[in-house]
């Protein structure tokens, strides 16, 4: 794989993460437990759609074949998407969606920090914008985790189960493959081992404050980064892509 191909593939993974998480979040519109959370969820999802658009456009420019953000989003098949499995998981209840958000963003924050320092100027600029948004999201999610953990007996048990269930998807964030290795080497990209340590430290701090316990070391599922998704994913794409696919030549 050439350096250019590495950069495009890496950028698309980031874009897919942003888009797929946003798509799950917007399923929650009009279903939040209170009005203030409607505003927060919509606001954060908008940030992710914005990031996905910047990242797809950047990938399109790097590729140089005139592929638009919408072609990336709506005209690729399941196996061409390279998002983390964690992000495509169904929303479940408020605690499940919250834990997904919290675990991913605790990682993403450090990833973006590292990306600001990478040698690709476009990615570095996008990361610098995104990190401001994600810092804010992360504070919000951490506060909610503490409220649910240290709330009622019921909420503690419920969100502990969310944490236990989501944990198996976290390994994928730190398992570097050829693209991660090449991106680190050729573009001064993130060191995933170092990020794992920071992530663990941050997650442990909030989980402790929330009076929850960190799940035990366990078997981890992976495959999203290589295009092998869960059964849920095809339905997500079918819904998201249906208009573009039904009217392939139309402008919207």
């Amino acid at each position: 794989m050439s350096a250019d191909q590495t950069l495009i593939a890496y950028t698309l993974r980031l874009a897919d993460n942003a888009l797929i998480l946003a798509q799950r979040m917007i399923e929650l519109v009009a279903a939040e437990p209170e009005l203030e959370e409607e505003l927060a969820n919509a606001n954060f999802a908008l940030d992710y759609i914005g990031q996905a658009r910047m990242l797809y456009s950047h990938a399109g420019e790097l590729e140089g074949n005139g592929r638009s953000e919408d072609e990336f989003a709506f005209m690729r098949d399941e196996h061409e998407f390279r998002n983390l499995l964690l992000l495509e998981q169904p929303n479940g209840h408020f605690g499940d969606a919250l834990v997904r958000q919290f675990l991913f963003e605790a990682f993403y924050l450090h990833l973006l920090e590292a990306l600001i320092a990478c040698s690709d100027q476009g990615l570095s600029e996008i990361a610098a914008r995104a990190i401001k948004e994600v810092k804010y999201h992360n504070r919000h999610s951490a506060q909610w985790l503490v409220r649910l953990g240290d709330g009622t007996e019921f909420s503690r048990e419920r969100v502990q189960a969310s944490l236990d269930n989501a944990w198996r998807y976290t390994g994928e964030m730190f398992t570097g493959d050829d693209i991660d290795v090449a991106f680190q080497r050729d573009f001064d990209g993130p060191n995933l081992n170092a990020i794992r340590d920071l992530w663990k430290r941050d997650v442990e701090r909030t989980v402790t404050e929330a009076t929850l316990r960190l799940p035990d070391e366990q078997w981890m599922v992976s495959g999203g980064k290589q295009g092998q998704h869960s059964e849920h994913f095809g339905f997500l794409l079918a819904e998201m892509q249906y208009l573009q696919r039904s009217f392939p030549s139309a402008t919207w």
């Binding site: 709506f74 209840h93 503490v146 909420s155 819904e239 998201m240 208009l243 919207w252």
Partner: protein, 328 residues
């Protein structure tokens, strides 16, 4: 603004403690275009009329998130998805300011929400129609937000200060929504034959319900005279509806789609369009709960509220623990 139910609900009996002097002094302030503020004396019926109107408006913003939210996951481009999400977020924000404005009149948000969930409170009938195609998102922005603006611009001068100020902010955002909706329609009408057909179908289904948004004819509108005297209302239902028809018919011509009314014609003498009779039975049915989506909309709200119960309970328990810790 979605306050049409105003004319159906409620029955304001004035309590006996209000003197003729108080009422006259209040009317004098209103006539002088002074803003009435939360702490000022006001007739009980004025207060109750405003609570009903503002809370209905707030509920409409919240329920209105559903028909539009229905296309969020299927929006046909990332740009349209972002615009629609921003719009739905604005509507949640409108709900929030309006609940706050109503709270200044001494009713709690919890009470208003409880009235919505129990089916006691009304919201605009327009949101009880389904969004069946992407063009419906265009039609809602163009027609429904368009009608809302017609209704709401005069409310920016409403005699009750907190409501008037909330409306100034809301109106700015509604006019964005209207333009974005029109832009969706324009793109469809300039697109393929199938897209244009989709736009026409949406206009066919949304035209008459949009006209109903202005409420009953003036001859049927019970509360209007009092609301006008109090300067809560500035124009009658029929005046606003006429204004909407005059503007919107020309926009439909520009789009190249047909308004579904055989009786529609321009009257050069008055400078207005004359239009056919609204199916008032349909309006009455939908307001009474028998529209295509009334049950679905309310059930979704109830479900979200019930599913969120444990989350709100946890937040409350945590807050009390924190307060106890701080006190210790």
């Amino acid at each position: 603004m979605y306050t049409q139910g105003l004319d159906q609900a409620g029955n304001d009996k004035q309590s006996g403690v209000e003197t003729a002097e108080q009422l006259a002094a209040f009317q004098k302030r209103v006539d002088a275009e002074e803003k009435i503020e939360a702490k000022d004396w006001m007739p009980e019926a004025y207060r109750r009329t405003l609570i009903r109107q503002i809370s209905q408006h707030a509920h409409s913003e919240i329920i209105g998130m559903q028909p539009e939210g229905n296309w969020l996951t299927r929006a046909p481009s990332l740009k349209r998805k972002a615009i629609l999400l921003a719009k739905v977020q604005d509507e949640a924000g409108h709900g929030l300011y309006l609940y706050s404005a109503a709270e200044t009149l001494g009713v709690s948000r919890d009470q208003m929400v409880a009235d919505l969930l129990s089916g006691k409170a009304k919201y605009s009938s327009i949101f009880n129609y389904p969004t069946l195609t992407w063009a419906d998102i265009g039609a809602i922005g163009w027609l429904v937000d368009g009608a809302a603006i017609m209704n709401q611009i005069p409310l920016c001068r409403c005699s009750y200060g907190p409501y008037a100020r909330a409306m100034v902010r809301v109106c700015k955002e509604e006019s964005f929504h209207q333009r974005q909706g029109f832009d969706i329609m324009l793109t469809l009408c300039r697109g393929t034959a199938a897209q244009k057909a989709m736009a026409q179908d949406a206009l066919n289904r949304w035209w008459w319900p949009s006209l109903m948004m202005f409420g009953p004819n003036d001859t049927e509108s019970k509360h209007s005279a009092q609301s006008m005297a109090w300067k809560i209302k500035r124009f009658s239902n029929d005046e606003l509806r006429q204004k909407f028809v005059d503007v919107t018919v020309q926009q439909a011509e520009f789009l190249g789609i047909r308004v579904p009314d055989d009786e529609l014609s321009f009257d050069p003498e008055s400078g207005h369009y004359t239009f056919g009779e609204i199916d008032w039975q349909e309006f009455i049915d939908v307001v009474a709960g028998n529209g295509p989506c009334n049950k679905q909309r309310l059930e979704k709200r109830q479900y979200a509220h019930n599913e969120g119960e444990w989350v709100r309970a946890a937040a409350q328990a945590y807050a009390s623990k924190q307060a106890a810790r701080a006190a210790a």
